[in-house]
Symmetry: C2
Subunit: 378 residues, 2 copies
């Protein structure tokens, strides 16, 4: 079967790659950051504004959409794109990450039983069910159903889990029949190099259209994340896209790319926006800070997003101060636009051979937490 | 001094008029409904979406903007339009209505002292201060500072108040010096025909660019409102715009227009939107109702707004159900678009001589509360 979204690498700088995913709904130039629309919408953002941010692909959550409004209703719309009014490519996760972050659940070979957090309803998810849901949601890229290992499990559990994840991914592939939808595998293995290696071998043995690194962004910290990438990414197939799940801080992005990752998703861009935190090239800016009360500059003087070309910091400060939700919308527009531009500049630096200079700038503006305090800048 | 916004009547049907206000920022075709942007923003709505609703002029609240962010900051931006990123004409109220709806206040000849509801700060407003604030806000139309009589005051107080309001309006006019800003007077007089008549004579004696009817929308009900209009509007100058403040239900709009009113403002369009209440030609539709859970139609099949041309009732139902604020934004877009279209159709019916048929339709779709229950329709 041919892959519905062909991938090619156009330029390299060390392990970093500039690639292209040729999706039917549009080319995705990698490295790419994917904003998250958890419940069938990028929070506070209309598709009209989303289109202006330069985002190339967005993520939607199978777990949440399965609960509300349910995949049957999405299918009735003709899929997520039609329901949400979004023309961009969409990737759906498998529900694995959400389910495994729940406290009350029972993991068995067949699948996972848990209570839905909103109404306590008993729910069962398995590779087959996740595939059925994702095929109805109709995203361009679906993810296999895996077990996302929490930070801190013991070696014996991790070994069991890696084997189970392999079996679940095989079942995912067997259950996946939608020819216009890519299916990505997920590498697990926690913080054991040999388990990561074993997972890669087993998952690649099954064969997918792309490969994700799961089990990170679980509180391990930047250094530990880099360490895992160091003993994982290089062993993943070079001719397929590599996707680091749930990761999206600027420093994590540039270090992920430096190690050969192509795709990322994260909620901080939109979540931080809703609290008035703006990302800019010199560093983060908390517009709710009193110092911006009378500041007549745009948040980012070099930014050409709708927010920065239309409004002042003082006005945005005012909107957040009076609790006007338009402030959250305008911050979301800026942050998504900024991250799209950030990834585009990173890509260009790979093409131009200036990636190391770009990487150094990111370390300056977005230093590792704790190593040096990140400061809001004016 | 010439009026900065000339007004002319282009067609009549009985007392109803189709007119034009020629503002520097664009023609305002009357009768017109003005959405309210209380705190320097139409809640949940970016100017980009506002522009798509067909709204011709919006209202901003002097009282709220004086408190936060303060008129000096607005002036520093070059006025409200620049701060808000809105090119449409703007009208600012005088603060009178908000102040007089506060419980704790002291009314004296010089002005009103009250505590700001958010932080308890002691504040003083007078005709001179209101004019100074509004001139800094820089709207196209400013309103005189008046005393808005609450429903239920006695005759003696009302007589005193009408006299005071006249003196305050004279002081407003004397304090108003901005040549590019229209100034509208406000007729008070409560529910006494002779006091309304006296107020009209005194206010018109001062002379303003337009005349508003104040003191309604204070809980008096539709019939009482019509009664007041019956003994008020006909005595107001025919060659100036007439503005009924704080009124905007469909039935109130059509009955106001039938009596010769040209301008209206109201918060229900945006407030109801935020609770999932959509206005449509056959009647209101509460999209949060369970019956719309799987409904694949747009809210209003005959509507060409962004919301109705992009999303289904089922999707909007979902957004409200999961508490996603995008639902409020999309409902606000629809409601403002619908009311703009409603007023445009009403205007056309005046031009075409079919106003009575239009009026009858409105009574059918939006009957008087209590006389017959208004029902959500599918």
């Amino acid at each position: 079967m041919t892959c519905p979204i062909p991938f090619s690498v156009e330029a390299r700088h060390g392990a970093a790659r500039a690639g292209v995913l040729r999706a039917a709904r549009g080319e995705i130039r990698t490295p790419v950051f994917m904003p998250v629309g958890t419940q069938g919408a990028i929070r506070t953002l209309s598709p009209l504004h989303l289109a202006s941010t330069g985002s190339q692909v967005i993520l939607a959550n199978t777990y949440h959409l399965h609960q509300r409004p349910g995949e049957d209703l999405v299918e009735k719309h003709g899929g997520l794109h039609k329901m949400m009014g979004v023309d961009l490519p969409i990737l759906t996760d498998s529900g694995g990450f959400q389910v495994f972050s729940l406290k009350k659940k029972r993991v068995e070979e067949q699948g996972v039983t848990f209570s839905y957090e909103v109404d306590g309803r008993r729910t069962f998810l398995s590779p087959e069910i996740s595939m059925a849901i994702q095929q109805k949601l109709g995203a361009d890229i679906a993810m296999v159903f895996d077990e996302c290992l929490p930070h801190g499990v013991d070696r014996a559990y991790a070994e069991d889990s890696v084997g189970r994840t392999t079996r679940w991914e095989l079942r995912s592939k067997q259950a996946h029949t939608r020819p216009d939808q890519s299916l990505f595998g997920i590498v697990q293995g926690g913080f054991w190099p040999d388990l990561r290696r074993r997972s890669i071998e087993e998952i690649c043995g099954i064969g997918f259209d792309g490969y994700a690194i799961g089990g990170l962004s679980v509180g391990e910290g930047h250094r530990k994340m880099c360490e895992v990438l160091d003993y994982t990414v290089g062993y993943m197939p070079d001719d397929h896209p590599r996707y680091l799940m749930g990761v999206g801080r600027p420093l994590d992005l540039v270090e992920g790319v430096a190690r050969g990752v192509d795709m990322f998703d994260c909620v901080i861009q939109t979540r931080h926006a809703r609290s008035g935190m703006f990302y800019t090239t010199p560093g983060r800016l908390r517009v709710t800070d009193r110092r911006y009360r009378r500041d007549m500059y745009p948040v980012d003087t070099s930014c050409d997003c709708y927010t920065c070309t239309t409004f002042t910091r003082a006005y945005l400060h005012h909107l957040f101060r009076v609790g006007e939700v338009l402030g959250a919308t305008l911050a979301t527009i800026h942050n998504l636009h900024w991250f799209a531009g950030f990834m585009a500049r990173m890509r260009q630096s790979i093409v131009d051979g200036t990636f190391e200079a770009f990487r150094a700038e990111v370390h300056e503006a977005y230093p590792e937490k704790g190593s040096k305090r990140s400061q809001s800048k004016g």
